[in-house]
Symmetry: C2
Amino acid sequence: MTIYQATASAPVNIACIKYWGKRDTKLILPTNSSLSVTLNQDHLRSTTTSRADPNFTSDHLWLNGKEEEIKPGGRTATCITEMKRLRKLEVEDQDPSAPPLSTWRVHIASYNNFPTAAGLASSASGFAALVASLAHLYELPVSPSTLSLIARQGSGSACRSLYGGYVAWEMGTKPDGSDSLAIQVAPESHWPDIHALICVVSDDKKGTSSTSGMQRTVETSSLLQHRIAHVVPQRMKDITKAIQERDFDTFARITMTDSNQFHAVALDTEPPIFYMNDVSRAIIAVIVEYNRVSLASGGGYKAAYTYDAGPNAVIYAPAQNMKEIVSLVTYYFPQTTDSFKDVFGLFSGTGAEGSLVEGFNENVAKKFGVGAVKGLIHTNVGDGPRKLGEGEALLGDDGLPSAIPA
Amino acid sequence: MTIYQATASAPVNIACIKYWGKRDTKLILPTNSSLSVTLNQDHLRSTTTSRADPNFTSDHLWLNGKEEEIKPGGRTATCITEMKRLRKLEVEDQDPSAPPLSTWRVHIASYNNFPTAAGLASSASGFAALVASLAHLYELPVSPSTLSLIARQGSGSACRSLYGGYVAWEMGTKPDGSDSLAIQVAPESHWPDIHALICVVSDDKKGTSSTSGMQRTVETSSLLQHRIAHVVPQRMKDITKAIQERDFDTFARITMTDSNQFHAVALDTEPPIFYMNDVSRAIIAVIVEYNRVSLASGGGYKAAYTYDAGPNAVIYAPAQNMKEIVSLVTYYFPQTTDSFKDVFGLFSGTGAEGSLVEGFNENVAKKFGVGAVKGLIHTNVGDGPRKLGEGEALLGDDGLPSAIPA
């Protein structure tokens, strides 16, 4: 008996031009276009196995080994339904001999290799991996952009995880959302030099969820409409050009100003939404000073911070600056040997050393204690979803989740 | 021999519609109108004595007993020059027998009764007291609005301290600034019920000065122009009406949203400017929850927070809510017996007790340690500059500063 099963992994992406606000909450159509860098799934990824079987009695989903309800009409159900529809349309309707997988129930097991406590949005990589694994299972002859239309309905930013490299989510204009999809601005090979340092920041309290927060901003912020109509369109053009030209100065400036503006419109919400805390602010001060020192001596920007809907910083920089950046961050936010894994061998595998660069004004931030930044994750720009072999499947022969990978 | 000397005190004001940005940095002409509440100078004030004498060899200024340089062409020099010009124009040119005080040098001693460390802007009350004392010395037959034109050139927001009650600073349109002045929207007697609780918040580092910060916002924020052109004009109309109608719900909403928006455009600046810290954010969360509980049970807004260019909160509320507010703040930010003076006898002169109101979600903020909020100052809406008697003069018979008052 043939087993119909496929496994895929998908990457995390972190936006440089932020998505904040929906014009259609059901279809997840955004109020502005956005653009992100896909991070290397060698380090951070969601892996998903999907299996279709005529004997399954209903659709099931396990996340990190724990079963999650698939709510009728909910986001996961929508993605599965849309993928089955594509299977029928693109495969079964074309080839009557193809097995009728679109009519069979699915079992889906998904696993994130990064802890939920890290505060990294796993919904983007998770929905991208879900859609990618189903696309392989269903042998769909469609582009990542077409798949992104479906991943978008799971979680908006998930659509950008269907491509590697530098990815735009074009907001589109059609009411049915058929032109609101991801396109690749440039593959990772075009500008492989971009690295990222994720600073995992402790927070006292759970922030506002991005889903509810962004709609409160749409409803109450007087500044958001100006951002949508008059700021983002030009920034999308400018950062696309910067990526095409590998112009880090422009890329860095736009990335930082757009992160600031996203948090500004969150603050302009009623009641106000804060995602950054005092540690986040201190990391900004360190990066601002690091760039100031370089610019003052005739150099360019050395690094760019960006913050999503939480206190964690992501610092983008050319690879050659990352050792200095890890040293600077470690100077103000001491790390233990466990909290920074030197995967790129910057410190020859030993612990990261905290130190300042010449001319750096130490007083831009106070020195925090161990744990203020719980950990550092060093990664780089990476590829899009990968098809994995049966050896990496997350479902056992019985169609139930196997042991979680180490 | 006649001694030509006058003493005046002037109040602090805290804006509900924020001033942020100059269209003329020399004349201090703002990019938008603003509106403030004048606080009671029984509690917080600057007191200034000015003396003119033909034997003085140069102008001198002492601030809190310490001599400050009067820089030629600087803000203090401009105010003194303008006041001398008015003396000549309005008095000496009209009455040739009037003593030629406009040609004599002045000695000026000023004293703030609140510590600089409290982080309260003393420039507003200070320049208002300077101008008010000179106006009495020179016996100028001019309105507070005319004096506000001069105080404005010392420190923009000082112009609003020339009136008690509820005060607008009309931005004006003329290049010479002659229509950029303060007007009284309503006297304190119109709505005497408004109290204020100042929460003095500790901060790790010195923030960006408002003078340099606001110009960076003018130069780099994409959102500021929208605020100036499309948001503030309507808010000025709406809050003026709210004050006229003693409509606290509208007053509170506008005050909080405008504080948020000022900090939003500061964040939208390159590099970003942060004035609020984690303690400021927690105070906002407490006030938001306090209002939520009231609104959920069909009541109105109970309190409104506002933040200037620093981490201190000012909470405006009807007098009847202040005991609850002090209790709420004290619950999360414990006070010592010294750090809150119960001047209105809310707690019968004993220490403030921390407690929550019914239905309040305790988890909106964590409980901080003693010192996170260094002190609470309870005050209320108050009157404009006061002429004081010779018994309160800050200059001795020798024309030099006398002992600082207790």
